[in-house]
Structure formats: structure tokens, C-alpha cells
């Protein structure tokens, strides 16, 4: 913790018609940390990711990545800078699982890092899949990706990001739809990523599992940041409790 500031989000605003999806959101991400972003349904978490990664253009506000302004850049340019994301609902390409990773491996970023030569891309792809918990000797990496169970699909999403050799990965509800057993195997994968120096933002509904991983969370509600800090402090916050559980009604 306490590394250099890698990503700064300043006062982002986005409205869809009359709905303020994200309203004045600001956050800062230091190098090497895992930041949790939580909030009830419809609080603007996914929109915030879309704004940071360039999939949606903000109405106002700025995003800085490594002191460079990236607001308004196209998603593929942002990804090539080393800031990438997973999708909440994985829709893999209809190819063998390991072939799915050929797509990010063909990106300019990877080519630049590898000096234009990666060797056998298929072998690199299989190594990456092993890193996120695919069994190397099993048939799974060769199966058509769309036939994989949800747990593997989420890992494939993570591997797709990892293939880009990113500095920041933003995970959009990577635990959703997974069984307890699948989450239990996913947590160490993410811890390993952090040890390797990847900075991670996790947008999550599964708070118990999230709090095992993160030291700092940001809480959104109706597009606004309502709290920030250590998980325990944040959950003790009255406003956060109200957002999650509703207002206490005093019965007569």
C-alpha cells in the first residue's frame, strides 16, 4: 500500500436521460493495491467502469492514468496503455478456450512489450490459462469456450485481461454467479495477481469474499460516493447501512 497514485478519477458525471447514473464520482488508486467498489443495485458501479475504460463517454470529469489524461480515448487505446477490464457477463469467442487469448495477444501492447515476437502464441495462451486456474493437462483449455461452466468463463475473462500484461485490471463482479467452492479457488488467483504487482479494482456484491481481499472500499449509491475507507469502518457507517438495508422505521 501507499504506492504511487496510478489512477485518478475526478468528479465524473454521466446521465442517461434524466437518470444521473454517476454523479461527481472521484477516486484514487495506488499502485499495487486492491480497491473494492461496492453499492446496491443500480448505484452506478458498472457505469463507472465503462466511463473509466472508455466504453461510455462522460458528460464531465476527468480520468488520469499514470498522470496521463485518458478521458475520451477509445477503449482499445486505454487497454493498450495497460488499463483493462473484465465483463460482468462473459461472452467468450466461439473458439477453443486458449484461442480466446490469441485476441489480446495480438494487441499492439503485447507486441510492443514482447518486441514483436512472442514465440508460439498457443503455448503462451495455455500458460496464461494455467495461471488463472485451468488444469493444464485436462481437456478444458481445448474445449469451445462457450461450453465452459461459469467458473471457467470468469477465469477466462481474467486470463483475457492478464494476456495484455496490464497494470490495472478492473473486475466487474467476478464472483457473481459462482458457487462458494468456485469463489474459494478464485480468491487465491486474485491474491497471486496482486503479488505479481497488478493493481486491481473489484466491483462486487459478494461483500464477505471481497473483504478478505481488499483493504479499502468505496461505496456508491445513486451514482454518488457515500463512503470510503477500511471495510469495517465503512460498514459501520450509518449512510452505508441505510443504502444497503433501507431506513429504519420506528414503529409506534
Amino acid at each position: 500500500m501507499g504506492g504511487e497514485s496510478l489512477l485518478q478519477v475526478r468528479d465524473l458525471n454521466k446521465s442517461f436521460g434524466g437518470l444521473k447514473a454517476v454523479h461527481g464520482a472521484s477516486l484514487e488508486l495506488s499502485e499495487g493495491e486492491i480497491l473494492g467498489v461496492i453499492g446496491p443495485n443500480g448505484s452506478g458501479k458498472t457505469t463507472l467502469i465503462n466511463l473509466i475504460t472508455g466504453f461510455v463517454k462522460p458528460d464531465s470529469g476527468e480520468v488520469y492514468f499514470k498522470k496521463r489524461k485518458i478521458t475520451g480515448l477509445q477503449p482499445h487505446k486505454i487497454a493498450n496503455l495497460g488499463l483493462t477490464r473484465t465483463f460482468q457477463i462473459p461472452r467468450p469467442y466461439r473458439l477453443a478456450s486458449f484461442k480466446n487469448l490469441i485476441v489480446p495477444l495480438c494487441s499492439p501492447r503485447v507486441k510492443g512489450i514482447a518486441g514483436g515476437y512472442l514465440g508460439d502464441m498457443d503455448a503462451v495462451a495455455i500458460d496464461l490459462l494455467e495461471e488463472v486456474g485451468f488444469e493444464r493437462d485436462a481437456y478444458v483449455p481445448y474445449k469451445v469456450a462457450s461450453s465452459l461452466p461459469e467458473g471457467y468463463l470468469k477465469r477466462l475473462e481474467l486470463a483475457r485481461c492478464l494476456a495484455l500484461r496490464p497494470e490495472v485490471i478492473i473486475c466487474d463482479e467476478i464472483f457473481s454467479g459462482l458457487s462458494m467452492a468456485e469463489i474459494a479457488t478464485m480468491v487465491p488467483v486474485i491474491e497471486k495477481l496482486q503479488m505479481k504487482g497488478v493493481t486491481i479494482v473489484m466491483i462486487e456484491h459478494r461483500l464477505r469474499e471481497l473483504f478478505r481481499l481488499v483493504n479499502r472500499v468505496v461505496v456508491l449509491n445513486f451514482g454518488e460516493k457515500i463512503a470510503e475507507g477500511h471495510p469495517e469502518e465503512v460498514m459501520a457507517n450509518a449512510e452505508v447501512r441505510e443504502a444497503y438495508l433501507g431506513k429504519e422505521v420506528v414503529e409506534c
Binding site: P75, R85, R94, V103, L105, S107, P108, M121, C161
Partner: protein, 336 residues
Amino acid sequence: MRGERRKERLDRSIKVRTGGLYAISSWREISYLLGPRLLLILGFLILPLIMPNLYWQRVLCSMGVFALLALVFDFLGSYVGLVSLGGAFYTGMGGYISGALNSSFGLPPILTIPIATLGGGFLCTLLFLPTLPLRGIYFAIITIIYPIAAHKVITALNIFGGTEGIHALSTFPNIWLETYLILGAVLIVLFSLRRLVNENYGIVLRGIKDNDQSARASGINITLYKAQALFIASAIGCFAGSYLSTLYGWAGLSLFALDFSILPIAAATLGGVGTLVGPMLGACILTPLSEILRAIGTWRIILYCLLLLAFIVFKPEGLMEYLQRKYHQFEHWREV
């Protein structure tokens, strides 16, 4: 009882053995792999020799043109996700470019065809660039407007000979060059495209087709890739067009005829979408068939439609998938 049985399909053991190159150990296995390819190549080489007269040799030429367009349609539709009805636009552009170069500057076909192929491909890509963010049916609708608009522009402005077209162009020196040039091009394009879609570059294209958002998050400039694929496709289409105008010594508005956009779809339906070789074979069946049926007049359209309908209803997978299954697998009824 039929209800208690089900059809079981199993890969032939020879298919499994030849699946990886390392396992090939006999001539039988090598011929199992290469046989269908050689059969196709040999068939294409022999076809011009057995055509009875000039008329049928010309049918062969237009068959080749439609086969190229069907390949292009399948490549764009099944591997890049751009269902393009712009076939007629490519042929028109290619035909008019080579025609104009030949009549204005007197360039011989050996120069006009390559220039029309590359230049036409470039020009088509440039003109289609604004439509690339569109997907599916929206892209299809826009692309069919292009040949119609080009037709109207030429008529309205009375350029390139207006409705008359550009006449008296240089033609091919002999019939053998005419037939073998187009059939050779079909084979080269078929095998190159099949190779391309399985290379890493093709994998990226297929990724963009299946999920463009995820490809963008993977650092892929999808507009650039789509434009490159469109260039490959339209260059092939422009080659077909410039070939046609050189074949007939005339570049006219019929090069923008919607047949060039529609027939490839019919061919792809018949042959099997997504197999590349299927749509090509579909064109090789439909073009001569339509000539044979010419004798029965208007009935030919009805028969033609019935055939297509029968394929869509009874064999929606197409001819090629069916043949491949029969070749690679055996099936038998099994009690359940």
C-alpha cells in the same frame, strides 16, 4: 419403435488419426486428407476442357465470378460479422475502373485488372468506412444501397458513358486464359481465405465478430481490423468485376446489377454458411442450373425458388456440412 432409437454419429477412426499431422503413416491416410482438395482442384482444371461450346465456357466464367463473390460474402458474414450485400458494388467498381483505364489511357488488361483490384478495393473500403460501426442487418441494408446509388449516379451524371457504358475494351486473347484465370483465382482465394481465418489474424477477426466489446477491451482496434477485412473482400470482388468487363469488352450498368449481391446469399444458403468451400460449391451448382433451366422460361424462377426453399427447410446446415459429416463420420441406429 422409432421413438426408442436414436441416431448415433461417431468420428471415423481415420479422421481421428489424421486429425494431427504426426499420426499420418500411410498413403490411405494421406489421400483421406488430401483427396477432397485434389478432387476439387482437378475438377476445376478439367471443367474448361469438357465444355461443349463457347456458350458453356462463358457460363463457366460467370460461375467463377459468382463463386468469388460467394466466398467474399461468406468470409465477411461468417468470420468478420459484416453481412455484406455490397457484392454488386465491388463488381461495378472493379469493372468501371478497369474499363475507364483501358479506354482513356489504353492500358492493357494485364495492368488494368491488378490496378482495378487494388485501387477498387481501396476505394470500396474508403466508401464503406462510415458504415463499419453498424452490425448485422443494419450493415446489410446500408451495403445494398451502395450499388443502387452508384447506378443512379452514373445515369444521372451521364459519366462513364452513362446508360450506354464504356465500349470496345480490350479483351482476353483466348478462351483458355478466360476460363483458367477465373477458376485459378477461385481456388487461390478459397485456399488463402481458409488459411487466413485459422491464422492468428483470422482468430482476431472471429473474436471481433463474436464479441466486439471484449475485443476492444483486449486492446484491439476493431475498426482497423474490419477495414482490413473489408479491403481483402472488396479487392476480390473488384477483381471479379474487372475480369467481367475485360471478358465482355464492355463496362456497363449491369455490373451494378443486384444479382451480384443476391446470388451469393443463395449460394451460401445452399452450400452452408461458414464453411467457405460450401458457398463456392453453391455458386458452382446454381449458376449452371439457372442456365439449364433457361429452356423452360419463367418456370425456372419458380423451380429455383423451390430448390432454395427446400434447402432452407430440410437442410438448413447446407450441402457442405452434410457432405463433411458423411465423410468424417459414420452413423447407425442404436437402441436406447
